[in-house]
C-alpha cells in the first residue's frame, strides 16, 4: 500500500541519523535550581499553591490549574521553594515561574490515587489526566483533558496517535516508540476507552520502518487499533495534514479535530496518559533530543521538567566550536535562544545547536513569482501574496485570501529562492488579526 500523505509540504535534510541510534539516557538535574513556569500550556496560567520557603516533594503539585483550559504544574524534585518570580522562558520572555532549590534527595510525594482501569468511569479517567497536568507535548501545549472532552464523545471516530515526528533532527518520539512501544499502545487503549465508537490509529512516517514493524506486532490482537504508514514529508505531523492523510477528512481554522470526528495526540502525551492513569504519576519528565552539528555528543535524554537547558548541553559534552544558532524545538517551528539558561517545560522536545545559521547567511531579495511557496504550502495558500499583503497591513485582503488558514509550518520560508521571510510576515499579520478580533469582541 502506498504511504498516506497530503498535498504540498517539503523534503528537508532529516538530520535524524545523529541521534536515532542513541538510547534514551536518564539525566538528573545538574544545576541546583529548577524553574517551573506557571504557563507551560495554552490557556490560563496556573496559580501557585506553595509559598516561598515551603518544602516540596517530587511529584507534589505546586501550581493549580486556573479554570478548565489550564493545567496543573508539579515539582519534579524534592527541595525548597526558593522564589516565585519572573524568569526567562524559551520564547525569550520573562514569565512568572516557581523556582525550587533541589535537595537531591528526590523524595517522592504521594501518587495520584488510581483504580484499575476497568473500575473507573470515563469522567474519572479524564479527571486523572487533568490531575496529572498533561498537555499536548508535541509543541502547542493544549491541555489534554480539554481535548479529550469534546461536546459529542459518541461522534469521535478516530483517535490518532501522532507518531510522525516530521520535524528534522528530532528523535525523541522515535526512541520512545522503539523502547517503550507497549506504553504507547496501552495509553492509546486508555484513550479509546473514552470513545466507544472510535478506532485507534498509530500514524508513523515511512522513514521509521522499525517502529512500524514493532507497533504492528504489538497491535496484532488489537482489533480497534491499526498502524498507518505516512509518507516522510514535512509537515506530516501537523494536525490538519495528519487527519487528512489518515482519514481523508479536512478541517479548517474554524474547526476543531473533534468536528471531523478525530482526536490527535502525540506519542509523549499518550505515554504520559499511561503513566498517569495506570501508575498515578503526574507529568514531570519528558524526552529531549540534544543534537546538531555544534553538540559534541548528540543524545536523547529523559529529563525532569524544570531542568536548565544548559545542563542538557553540558551533559551532551557541550559545544564543539562556537554555535551560531541554538534552537528549542525543531528547526522548522522551534524558537531561537539567546540564552540557554531556560527551563525544560512539558512541551520541550529538543535542543539544537548549529555552527552555521542558514537564516542570517541568506539575504532576502525580491519575489520572482516562481510559485514554489504555492506548491509547498500544505494549507494551499499563496504565501508570497499573503506576505505582500501583510507588509501593506491590509487586514481585509489578508483574511479574504485565507491568511488565517496558515498553520505557520515554515515551508514557504524554507523553499523561497529569494529567501523572503514569508512565514514570519504571515505569522505577524495573523497575530494582529487575532488581537483585533479579541479587541472587537
Amino acid at each position: 500500500m502506498p504511504s498516506l500523505t497530503f498535498k504540498g509540504g517539503i523534503h528537508t535534510y532529516e538530520g535524524k541519523d545523529l541521534t536515532k541510534d542513541k538510547k534514551i539516557t536518564d539525566l538528573l538535574p545538574i544545576s541546583s535550581e529548577l524553574v517551573y513556569p506557571l504557563s507551560q500550556h495554552i490557556g490560563a496560567p496556573a496559580v501557585p499553591i506553595v509559598n516561598v520557603g515551603d518544602r516540596v516533594l517530587r511529584g507534589q503539585k505546586i501550581a493549580e490549574a486556573n479554570g478548565f483550559v489550564s493545567a496543573h504544574v508539579y515539582s519534579s524534585v524534592s527541595g525548597t521553594v526558593k522564589s516565585i518570580e519572573k524568569r526567562l522562558n524559551v520564547q525569550g520572555k520573562m514569565a512568572e515561574s516557581i523556582v525550587i532549590e533541589n535537595d537531591e534527595a528526590y523524595e517522592e510525594g504521594l501518587p495520584i490515587p488510581v483504580k484499575p482501569i476497568s473500575e473507573m468511569t470515563k469522567e474519572e479517567v479524564i479527571g486523572i489526566i487533568r490531575e496529572a497536568g498533561i498537555i499536548g507535548m508535541g509543541g502547542a501545549g493544549f491541555p489534554t483533558h480539554v481535548k479529550l472532552s469534546p461536546k459529542n464523545p459518541g461522534k469521535i471516530h478516530y483517535v490518532i496517535a501522532n507518531c510522525a515526528e516530521c520535524e528534522p533532527y528530532l528523535t525523541s518520539d522515535y526512541r520512545r516508540m522503539l523502547e517503550e512501544p507497549e506504553k504507547l499502545v496501552a495509553g492509546l487503549k486508555i484513550i479509546l476507552c473514552l470513545f466507544e465508537h472510535a478506532k485507534g490509529i498509530l500514524a508513523v512516517e515511512d522513514n521509521k520502518p522499525d517502529c512500524i514493524r514493532i507497533l504492528k506486532d504489538l497491535c496484532i490482537n488489537e482489533p480497534r487499533i491499526s498502524v498507518k504508514v505516512l509518507k516522510t514529508k514535512y509537515p506530516q505531523g501537523s494536525e490538519r495534514q495528519l487527519i487528512y492523510a489518515t482519514c481523508q477528512r479536512a478541517i479548517n481554522s474554524s474547526m476543531l479535530p473533534a468536528d471531523a470526528g478525530c482526536i490527535v495526540n502525540n506519542v509523549d502525551t499518550i505515554v504520559a496518559v499511561y503513566h498517569a492513569v495506570i501508575e498515578g504519576r503526574p507529568l514531570m519528565e519528558r524526552i529531549v533530543t540534544v543534537t546538531g552539528d555544534a553538540i559534541r555528543y548528540p543524545q536523547n535524554y529523559r529529563v525532569y521538567t524544570g531542568t536548565c537547558y544548559a545542563d542538557l548541553i553540558e551533559a551532551a559534552g557541550g559545544f564543539k566550536g562556537n554555535p551560531e544558532k541554538i534552537i528549542s524545538g525543531g528547526p522548522m517551528m522551534g524558537f531561537a535562544l539567546y540564552d540557554t539558561h531556560v527551563p525544560v517545560t512539558k512541551s520541550s522536545s529538543a535542543i539544537l545547536a548549529f555552527l552555521k545559521d542558514d537564516v542570517s547567511d541568506s539575504k532576502a531579495s525580491a519575489c520572482i513569482n516562481c510559485g514554489r511557496c504555492v506548491d509547498a504550502c500544505p494549507s494551499r495558500l499563496i504565501p508570497s501574496r499573503l506576505a505582500d499583503i501583510a507588509e501593506h497591513y491590509d487586514e481585509e485582503k489578508f483574511v479574504a485570501l485565507n491568511g488565517m488558514e496558515c498553520v505557520e509550518c515554515g515551508c514557504c520560508s524554507y523553499i523561497c529562492p529569494a529567501k523572503r521571510h514569508l512565514t514570519q510576515e504571515i505569522k505577524m499579520m495573523r497575530q494582529t488579526v487575532l488581537a483585533n478580533r479579541r479587541k472587537n469582541k
Binding site: N322, E324, G334, S365, I368, N369, C370, R372, R380, Q424
Partner: protein, 309 residues
C-alpha cells in the same frame, strides 16, 4: 554562552535553491541552443550574444548605481535576459541593434518598473518586439549559408515544401536561438527535471496551439504542416524559455494552464490571420499583460475549504 549566537523567527533552515541558482540553471539549459546557433551562423552571432549579455548586465549595474539602489546583477537575471534577447535576434543583426535592444530590455522594461520581480512583460521579448518595430527590415532579414532566405514558416505560407528533419536539427534560417528544436528540447527537459519550470505552461501552450492550427488553418490536420508550425518560428524557444518566465507568468497552477492556452490561441491567431507568418513574441507579451487578471480568478481553494484534494 557563545557571543555570536543569532536569533530569528522560525524556520531556521533554508533550502539551497536561490534566485541566482535558478538563473544559472536557465543559462545552462540555453547553452545547447546558443552553441548550435553560434556553430551554424558564425562569428557575428557569438558577438551578438556577448554584446547582449554584457550590455544587459552593465545597464542594470549603471542604473542601480545611479539610483543608489542595491546592486542585483549577482542574481544573474540580467544575463538570462541578455542571452534570451540575443537568441531572438537574426544572426546578421548589427551590434548596435543588440545594444539598443539590451538597454531597452533592462532599463525600460525591467528597471523602470522596479527591477527583478516587478516587470509585467518579459524584457527580452519586449525588446525584440521593440527592435522589430524599429528596424523591421533588418530584423526580418535572415541569411543562411551566405544568402538571404525565407524562414520555414514564410516558405510554408508561400506554398513551398519544408524539410522537417532540417527544422528539427536546425539547418534552417531563423534567429540565433530558435532554429534547433532538438537543442532547445534538451534544455527544456533539463529545466523540467530540475524543477525550474512547470510543464503546465509549455504543455498548455503547445496543445492549444496545435488544436487551433488544426481547426482554423487552411492546411487543417496535416501532420507535417503542424510539426513544421511547432518547430518553426521560435515556438519551442518561446514556450519553454520565455512563456515560463516566473515574473511574467501566473503563480497559481490553474493560472499557468490558462496562461499557456492564451499564448497558444494568440500564437495560432497571429500565424493564421495576420500578415506575418510568426507571432510567438506578441502572443507571449500580450498574455503577460493578462497575468494579473488570470491570477485574480485562479486563487486556489485552501485546505479545509475544498482545496485539500
Amino acid at each position: 554562552m557563545s557571543e555570536n549566537v543569532k536569533v530569528s523567527a522560525s524556520p531556521h533552515v533554508r533550502s539551497n535553491m536561490s534566485t541566482s541558482r535558478i538563473m544559472f540553471f536557465v543559462i545552462i539549459a540555453l547553452l545547447p541552443a546558443t552553441l548550435y546557433g553560434i556553430y551554424q551562423f558564425g562569428f557575428n552571432s557569438a558577438l551578438l550574444v556577448a554584446v547582449c549579455v554584457a550590455v544587459c548586465v552593465i545597464s542594470e549595474l549603471v542604473y542601480e548605481k545611479l539610483m543608489r539602489a542595491p546592486v542585483t546583477i549577482g542574481d544573474l537575471s540580467a544575463v538570462v535576459t541578455g542571452l534570451l534577447l540575443a537568441l531572438n535576434l537574426p544572426p546578421n543583426a548589427t551590434w548596435w541593434m543588440a545594444v539598443i535592444g539590451s538597454v531597452f530590455a533592462i532599463i525600460v522594461v525591467k528597471m523602470l518598473f522596479g527591477g527583478i520581480g516587478q516587470n509585467f512583460m518579459n524584457p527580452a521579448l519586449a525588446a525584440r518586439c521593440f527592435l522589430v518595430i524599429s528596424f523591421t527590415a533588418r530584423m526580418n532579414n535572415f541569411v543562411y549559408d551566405g544568402v538571404t532566405k525565407a524562414t520555414p514558416l514564410a516558405s510554408i505560407r508561400e506554398g513551398n515544401p519544408v524539410d522537417l528533419l532540417d527544422m528539427f536539427i536546425g539547418r534552417i534560417p531563423g534567429t540565433i536561438g530558435e532554429v534547433s528544436t532538438v537543442a532547445l528540447l534538451a534544455g527544456a527537459v533539463f529545466l523540467i527535471i530540475t524543477g525550474v519550470i512547470d510543464f503546465r505552461i509549455p504543455c498548455a501552450y503547445l496543445v492549444s496551439f496545435v488544436l487551433f492550427m488544426g481547426l482554423f488553418s487552411q492546411s487543417g490536420w496535416s501532420i507535417p504542416y503542424l510539426v513544421a508550425q511547432v518547430c518553426g518560428g521560435g515556438l519551442i524557444l518561446g514556450a519553454f524559455f520565455m512563456a515560463t518566465d516566473y515574473v511574467t507568468s501566473p503563480i497559481t497552477k490553474t493560472g499557468r494552464v490558462i496562461f499557456g492556452v492564451c499564448c497558444g490561441l494568440l500564437t495560432g491567431m497571429f500565424r493564421v490571420f495576420s500578415s506575418s507568418p510568426e507571432g510567438v513574441s506578441y502572443a507571449i507579451i500580450i498574455s503577460n499583460l493578462l497575468v494579473p487578471l488570470i491570477e485574480r480568478i485562479t486563487v486556489p481553494k485552501c485546505f479545509g475549504k475544498g482545496g485539500e484534494n
